[in-house]
Symmetry: C2
Subunit: 437 residues, 2 copies
């Protein structure tokens, strides 16, 4: 106990801690031998004083070593994991996983649930009747080998220290620390035995990092951690100054992802999925794969990616007919009302977080971890920054449980849009790539 | 809950908090509505970022308001409280209280138990058979009016937030913060309705503050807090580069205090008590009291102070014969062995904390709050800095439970003394006074 206090006092006074000091503290906390208040004091000291690269590596390693890992040794495909730091209308994983699988890669994606204004991939998939996200390590391994992709809940045995520390950070105003965020993101990825880690670090009004520069720093810290581990990692800083796709919800996101997989929908969501598919092929398939972009587009137009999605849904117990007729299979909301533009102009800015929050208020997300989500409700909003909007134009739809909630959501969405008379250039989709390994 | 996190985040980012923010957090914590880990994060942020004067006042006020107060309105004497920040062989309170009472003042002293290397006044008094330290507010008030002094345990109802926060600071490496220390010292004093607060801020190897400059800063912060409260306060920074008296123990301290009260013992302990008695008379009695130093010395030589001590012991259930024959009434240790100087020279420096720790190891103090103390054991060490010591001179005595513990304590005491061939000047007794009110 006195040792732990000495470690905390050293960080408090601005000194760098040794690997053994950080490891001892984190593993003892995971075992319940260090009290929450003691760990909280450490987190606040680390937040204010910072952690250098060695300390961040030690923290990440301790979190990995606090539990079991998922080596995926039985998978012969080149394996890729993909992670987003969280955004609004961000269904990249839902499309990327079957697309990459249809290109011969293996995608093992352990995912979390949505919290706050950002959606969660598990919540979205569970809107497909029967879909199971609780898979064992063996099930994941077998499915990645056979189908090519699996999207499952992170098990309690994987990086338990991370979950415990994250809950503590959430309670103690110590979330927004670059090294603490990077360690938390990367420990989950490093605990899974993949050949490439792809990171989508979002920047903008709907993201945790509000500026591309903040996002770049997080991307660099994460790829640096992977590099210290000897693991290949590519991180893209991508735009989240507006919702990526059009749909913010759970069933609505699934429906949109299926449209993209069917090749019926173009736009920024599809474009970003293709970017990640190209990046994955470049690292894992090299010159043998020919034109990576054309290959990815062909996997969509041929129906291969959609077919892989169907097989994944089937393998995880979901109703595969969702692929053929989403609206017949997915739950639908009792009330739908159109979002009608209040005036005309060019869309100059979007408060994407406010739109995410409006969806949360409809019931599509959670304010607290223990809340349930309503799979049917949500928002569809079509215009992107730079698009012109006419007066009284229908620009989207709110799906709600009742009329009152719907009206409130419409108002919140319209409040989140800034129209202008000036021409506006669309923001870039990808600000830049950062590599390690 | 989210409000508390916002408050913590503001302190984390270096902003000053409002009185309402600090008050809300501290009172909610005292009521159990804010979790330990949340308060720990606040304490670490406050430790690193600091608290300004307004924030420290707000913290102190919240701690006072977390419980009941002891107004002492039924006491007609001018009332004084005296507090030491903790030292070794520091029995000033035991002599000061009856001395000041015999001069017509009322001394209401709520005290704590010893922890670590510094002794506790309650532990010392409880070595007198029958002595009760758990007094009600009414008992304290009546005794201060009738006898002139009472030394009792702080009740659970007084400043409960302080005890709870102190325990949390102890667990989370957030003790050594000037504003947190000052608020903790002063809330206990401000909760008691006295006319003057005297503070003895110790500086040196046996004190919490190792340098006079650090002690001066704490003294200034404390008198500043009292001033903001409109309360009279005088703080002395005094020497703790060596044990103040000769005795480090519980019964041994009582015996030494009685010797001082009988006028049989001169030296730094008596000198410091006189300094505090002079300071108290200056503020509370003014010119009416004549020569304050002579008056204090007369109260000892006349036996008035000793008689007041006897009445206090009797009023609190202790055996009053302790005053006449301490060795017959106080518990004595099974083993006593002399401390014999290893060489000759002038005493140049003393590690007073090590001597306090040696006494703790003998059983005279506690390492943890829940431990019991042995009233009989301890150390008597006579030489002060600047004194010459002959070869093989008996310079003190160890009182122990067994021979092995005694030998270990003798070695530790001798290790704590630095003899030199050069002449050494004795350190000042009082570095300076700081006033408010």
């Amino acid at each position: 106990m006195s040792d732990v206090r000495e470690v905390i006092a050293r960080k408090r006074d601005g000194h760098a801690l040794t690997e053994d000091e950080i490891r001892g503290l984190v593993l003892a906390y995971a075992r319940g031998e260090v009290a929450d208040e003691v760990a909280a004091a450490f987190l606040m000291a680390a937040f204010i004083r910072g952690l250098d690269t060695d300390e961040t590596v030690a923290l990440t390693r301790a979190m990995v070593d606090s539990g079991t890992t998922l080596p995926l040794e039985g998978v012969s495909r080149p394996k890729v994991d993909k992670h987003s730091t969280g955004g609004v209308a961000d269904s990249v994983t839902l499309v990327f996983a079957p697309l990459a699988a249809s290109l011969g890669l293996g995608v093992a994606k352990l995912s979390g649930r949505g919290l706050g204004h950002t959606g969660g991939t598990l919540d979205k998939l569970e809107s497909i009747p029967g879909f199971r996200t609780e898979l064992s390590g063996e099930e994941i391994e077998r499915q990645v080998q056979d189908v090519g992709c699996a999207i499952a809940a992170q098990t309690k045995e994987l990086v338990p220290a991370d979950g415990k520390l994250y809950a503590l950070r959430d309670a103690t105003a110590t979330v927004a620390s670059l090294p603490l965020i990077a360690a938390s993101v990367m420990c989950k990825k490093l605990a899974v035995g993949t050949d490439l880690i792809l990171l989508d670090v979002k920047a903008g009004s709907g993201a945790f990092m509000k500026t591309p520069e903040d996002a770049r720093q997080l991307a660099e810290t994460c790829v640096g951690l992977a590099g210290r581990w000897g693991r290949a990692c590519r991180a893209a800083v991508t735009d989240m100054s507006q919702p990526l796709g059009d749909s913010v919800g759970n069933a609505l996101d699934i429906a949109e992802a299926i449209e993209v997989l069917r090749g019926e929908r173009v736009g920024r969501l599809r474009d970003l999925v293709i970017e990640f598919a190209v990046a994955a092929q470049e690292v894992l398939l090299g010159s043998s794969a020919g034109d990576k972009r054309a290959g990815a587009e062909r996997a969509i137009s041929s129906g291969d990616a959609l077919e892989t999605f169907r097989r994944m849904v089937e393998a995880q117990g979901g109703d595969p007919r969702v692929v053929d007729d989403p609206s017949a299979i997915l739950p639908s909301a009792r009330v739908t009302i159109p979002i009608v533009s209040r005036s005309e102009g060019t869309l100059g800015a979007v408060d994407a977080e406010a739109i995410g929050q409006a969806a949360v208020e409809l019931g599509a997300g959670r304010r607290r971890k223990e809340e349930a989500v309503d799979p049917a409700v949500g928002i569809v909003l079509r215009p992107k920054i730079g698009d012109t909007v006419g007066p009284d134009e229908e620009i989207g739809v709110v799906h709600a449980r009742d009329r009152r909630a719907a009206d409130r959501a419409v108002a919140r969405v319209l409040d989140a849009l800034a129209l202008t008379d000036e021409p506006v250039e669309a923001p870039p989709l990808v600000y830049g790539w950062h590599d390690a390994g």
